[in-house]
Amino acid sequence: MADNKNPEINSDVVRRAAALLDELGLSELEYGSGGWHVKVAKGRAPAVTAAPLTGEGGTAPTESDQHDYAGHPGVVTAPMVGIVYTTADPDTPPLVRVGDQVTEGQPVLLIEAMKVFNRIKAPRAGKVTRILVSSGTPVEYGEPLLIIE
């Protein structure tokens, strides 16, 4: 067994971990390297452990930007699954561009679901700082579409 020989406890690491526990009010902290792994727990709330499942699963068509902007305070997410469009019809300019100021309720995107085009309206006034989707691509429910700050 690989770890039978473990000769040294690195008390610095433990001290730092303990300090972190106190500082952060955690009850558990796990850390790793080599196929890295981190685990923290607080109170009686259980930790989210590593996903025990392999497989090719979970590949949504447009997953790329999701993790970066899902928690952004200015994010506008898709209220339904469908095809997103940035223009009202193919020959017109985009409804909004990065840098545009929008007012609350102003249509910013369209999502087509079952031949029905649904207007996505700005939930607040502000400046469009990022558009996270390309016209004509599928989006899932809850997928970040654009950022209004």
């Binding site: 699963g57 095809i83 679901a113």
Partner: protein
């Protein structure tokens, strides 16, 4: 054959369908609500689409989202599983309108059997036995006597306007008939403002027996034996077995032949289950389920067939690869539905699963989307696992089931495993001596 199937469901049945697809070389699309982003059916699928927030009405029951997901993933076919949209004729119709194959019966058949009254009428027309009753309202004792002559005692006198068990009286014999009729009329008037009553055969101790049929698009129909689903609590099946300990070979073939003939007459296709009450050697049709059943695995175990695979083959237009004479029933199978519930109070117990260890070895099958660290969401049905055990006979099956239940570890949440552990050592159950009322008496619901 299809290249890609969208599985319009969640939980163990989504995983079950995924497995069948994977074994046929068909790619799968999982749909899921935001509550199920880490679910097993999502993790294992080739593609996944989030279709809405946790409430089922906005996600798993959202027809538009479901179809949109099929469109944008380029699926060929949709399997609805059970529950959710599986018996929604409009959904099935829309699936077909949009050019997808619906892996199930035609929308017309779903509609026909979805309505209790037309289902019963259809049953009568195609020769399926139903609960005998009077032709409508019985006005007085003379009419009641005439009706009872063909029905036979005991009978149940029911208020035409009734419901909820009120205005119902049992007459065990001709002697009791006059009083029962009077009482029923009086109660009917008192409760519902209408004294009209009708008479039905009273089944005091029926078993729930259902017949699984399989029909292709070319007129071939077979039955895959019966399942005994009499162990129920509040009309929810708890444990199912096949074959039924109550039927003999002749009854099995009789009801199977009736089911097959009926399915042929109405031009039925894909899977279907005819549910019967069974008492004193007689079958009485209740309803037909036009979908895959939760308890289909017990049939698979005794027939050595993959029912989901057959559904997919049929939906793709393939003829059945076997005839009735090729179906062989072998041994005995029992399924325990394991729910995330307190095993005594039946209070739901969603939450995070700690240690998880499924039983293994000979004759043991687990259909479950659980894994260690998975969180059972509070939004959906509490059934989290099906433990299915096969043995060469009922006794071997029971012994194996006991040891498998003892091996099963699901920590962190409460489950109904202890209920099943009690059941499989109960003398009545071991003797096969139970009916649809038995379990509720056992667990003190009555």
């Amino acid at each position: 054959m299809f290249d890609k199937i969208l599985v319009a469901n969640r939980g163990e049945i989504a995983l079950r369908i995924h497995r069948a697809c994977r074994e046929m070389g068909i790619r799968t699309v999982a749909v899921h609500s935001t509550a199920d982003v880490n679910a097993m059916h999502v993790r294992l699928a080739d593609e996944s689409i989030c279709i809405g927030p946790p409430p089922a009405t906005d996600s798993y029951l959202n027809i538009q989202a479901m179809l949109t997901a099929a469109i944008i993933t380029n699926a060929d076919a949709i399997h609805p599983g059970y529950g959710f949209l599986s018996e929604n004729a409009d959904f099935a119709a829309k699936v077909e309108e949009h050019g997808f194959a619906f892996i199930g019966p035609s929308p017309d058949h779903i509609r026909l059997m979805g309505d209790k009254i037309t289902a019963r009428q259809t049953a009568v027309e195609v020769g399926i036995p139903v609960v005998p009753g009077s032709d409508g309202v019985v006005a007085d004792l003379d009419e009641a006597k005439v009706a009872v002559e063909s029905i036979g005692f005991p009978v149940l006198i029911k208020a035409s306007a009734g419901g909820g068990g009120r205005g119902m009286k049992v007459a065990q014999s001709a002697k009791e008939l006059p009083d029962a009729l009077d009482d029923a009329k009086r109660e009917a008037l008192a409760y519902f403002g209408n004294a009209d009553v009708y008479i039905e055969k009273f089944l005091a101790h029926p078993r729930h027996i259902e017949v699984q049929i399989l029909a292709d698009n070319h007129g071939n129909v077979v039955y895959l034996g019966e399942r005994d689903c009499s162990l129920q609590r509040r009309h929810q099946k708890v444990l199912e077995e096949a074959p039924s300990p109550a039927l003999n070979q002749a009854e099995r073939h009789e009801i199977g032949a009736i089911a097959v003939a009926a399915a042929k007459k109405i031009g039925y296709r894909n899977v279907g289950t005819m549910e019967f009450l069974y008492e004193n050697g007689k079958f009485y049709f209740i309803e037909m389920n036009t979908r895959l059943q939760v308890e289909h695995p017990v049939t698979e175990m005794i027939c050595s067939l993959d029912i989901v695979r057959e559904m997919i083959r049929i939906a793709a237009g393939a003829p059945l690869g076997f005839q009735q004479k090729d179906i062989r029933f072998s041994g005995h199978a029992i399924e325990c539905r394991i729910n995330a519930e307190n095993p005594v109070t039946f209070m739901p117990s969603p939450g995070r699963v700690g240690d998880y260890h499924a039983p293994g070895g000979l004759g043991v099958r687990v259909d479950s989307a659980l894994y260690s660290g998975y969180t059972v969401p509070p939004h959906y049905d509490s059934m989290i696992s099906k433990l299915i055990v096969h043995g060469t006979n009922r006794n071997e099956c029971l012994m194996r089931l006991r040891r498998a239940l003892d091996e099963y570890v699901i920590d962190g949440i409460e489950t109904t495993i202890p209920l099943h552990q009690r059941l499989v050592t109960d003398t009545d159950f071991v003797n096969g001596d139970y009916d649809v009322n038995w379990l509720e008496k056992q667990v003190g619901d009555e």
